[in-house]
């Protein structure tokens, strides 16, 4: 068993790729089943700290399922079973002793569709802070401003903090939920195709933001957009049919993938994107 996994690993990832790097997230032999079908099959993935790692692959290949293992949001889906090991910042995420709220505070998540709460802009950003027990009005205001600045939204909403978050544009909403995630100062950010609903300009702004976040956060980004992965990610993982097929530095994956399947997917998609 372990011999086979090692063999798979060697084929998937150059052995010295992450040598000496601290890991933010790690999956070992991770399998995930929904009631009817298997979504992930013995995935081994390592996500380095303070880098952006892109997760690419065709629709339904299990990217989102994999992402949701790291903050255990899969627990919310009825009939979902996980086996194998998931380590978040060195700790076993699926251990009995893991406190989910604590885990999720350290692993923020941004969803495909912006999902601001039907509250004011400020209340949205302060949501996680209030959960953490922060009550001081002054400190809340400071942290809200800092998070909005970090998400590149402050200048646009500084006069609209008490307006409903749902009045913001889609691009602003997406940056708002990023600010909401950043406000609690997580160490890891999971992003599930966060730019898929955005117009080109908003997408550009979003990508600049991701590159900036890399200074302080470990980012795992699911994307369908090859150019986006190429632009923002340090590392890229290619997932197909529930298996991790290739993991490498982004420039290598996009210029010289080792597997035919990876190349087909990337080039096929790129042609599609251009057309």
């Amino acid at each position: 068993m372990s011999a086979r996994e090692d063999a798979v690993d060697a084929a998937v990832m150059p052995p010295d790729l992450l040598a000496g790097r601290e890991l933010a997230l790690e999956a070992r032999g991770l399998s995930l089943d929904y009631s009817e079908r298997r979504a992930l099959d013995a995935v081994n993935l390592q996500v380095p700290r303070r880098r952006v790692t892109a997760l690419i692959g065709p629709s339904g290949c299990g990217k989102s399922s994999l992402l949701r293992c790291f903050n255990r949001l899969n627990d919310e889906i009825a009939g979902c079973r996980v086996s194998g090991e998931v380590r978040v910042l060195g700790l076993d995420a699926y251990a009995e002793t893991t406190a989910l709220p604590e885990l999720r505070r350290r692993v923020g998540m941004v969803f495909q569709k912006p999902n601001p709460f039907p509250q004011s802009v400020a209340d949205n950003v302060a949501f996680g802070l209030r959960l953490a027990g922060l009550r001081s009005r002054l400190e809340l205001d400071d942290r809200v401003e800092a998070a909005l600045r970090a998400a590149g939204l402050w200048e646009e909403v500084r006069d609209r903090l008490d307006d409903s978050a749902l009045r913001l544009s889609a691009g602003q909403q997406q940056r708002l939920v990023i600010a909401r995630a950043l406000a609690v100062e997580p160490e890891v950010l999971l992003m599930d195709e966060p730019a898929s609903m955005l117009d080109p300009i908003s997408t550009l702004r979003f990508e600049e933001l991701v590159v900036a976040l890399r200074e302080r956060y470990s980012v795992l980004l699911v994307t369908h957009n090859m150019q986006q992965a190429a632009r923002v990610a340090d590392y890229t993982a290619f997932l197909q049919a529930g298996r991790l097929l290739e993991f490498d530095a982004t420039d290598r994956i996009f210029t010289n993938p080792r597997l035919r399947g990876t190349e087909d997917y990337i080039t096929g998609r790129m042609r599609e994107d251009r057309g």
Binding site: E76, A78, P101, F111, N115, F117, P118
Partner: protein, 402 residues
Amino acid sequence: MAGLCLLALAAVLAVLVQQAVRAFAPVPVAELRWRSDAGEQQMLAAVVFEDAHELVVRGSEWQRRGAEYRRIARADLLQLDWPADARSLRLHDGREIHRRGLALPQAPDGSRPAAADVAEDVASNRLSRGETAGLMLRRAWDFVAGTAQGGGVFPALVGTVVLVLLMSVLVMPLGVLLALWLHEYAGSGRSARVLRAAMANLAGVPAVIYGLFGLVLFVNGVGGGVDALMHSATPRWGGGGLLWSALTLALLTLPVVVIATEEGLARVPAALRHGALALGATRAEMLWRVVLPVARPALLTAFILAVARAAGEVAPLMLVGAVRYAPALPLDGEFPYLHLSRQFMHLGQSVYDLALAGGDAPRDMAQAHAAALLLLVVVVGLNAAAIVVRNRLRERARELAV
């Protein structure tokens, strides 16, 4: 469909109004002479009904409220006059006495009503339209705002509103908690399935059975137990009362609240739930801070349905606290203001009593309709208030969704 419902409501209202108006309309007074088996008779009486074949008349109520009604065939009539000086007195206890001229009339036993007892004195046969309208308004107001002794239903009105509000206060938290547990925690487990089946069946149990249940559990069980504990000589909690009635109604409306709330919870988008959880919210925090606020309109819908169901129920209340005559209001200026163990009057009970007591007294029957109309107005009023609040919330939600 909606049109049909409105039509039905309008029809019910039309019938009630038409009947209720008779309770307040002035009745002309006639001088009658007619043949009967006992020979020729003569009286001054109010003509409450008249057609081509017969008259129904009501004489003066000298001794007590409730006079004899007589049915007189036109063929037997010897004389029918409408004297211009005929007057009707209404006393504070609701009695009506007819006479001619301004002097206070004398009863057959020689007594006279005191001037202070007279509530109303009208020239029945010479009322202008304006006077008639004013009289009817005043009588309607006396009916709505008057004490039980004077034939008013104010105590019943207060009892109904207090009861329904207390019921809501009891059923909403319980129902919402149950719905939360069912929808958010229980999943599809066995206990949840059992509870759901129980709810569906409870919704179909006849109301009077809830009354029996409340009598056994609350009045005799809990109330009796409390009395025994406090060694009270006279039953205080061990008799029917406001609290037991409200609890019984709360049980009755629980399924409605649970089902409506659950539907509302199901409509809260999973994206919002996941968003809250992903920020480190516990399940309870997610429900309290995100799900319940979003589901507020559904909670108000549950409240509306519960009020509509509860306000119309009479049968169970007769067993657990509603009475024909209660000496004191359940809500007054005396500490502790809301008297939970008191018996109370209820508009539904008033309708029932008036309709049955006045089996062939048209005036009581008309008052039963008036009480029914008032009950309907209370129900519609409470619902309308809740609907206004809900729509405002929805509007805000829609604004937020822009």
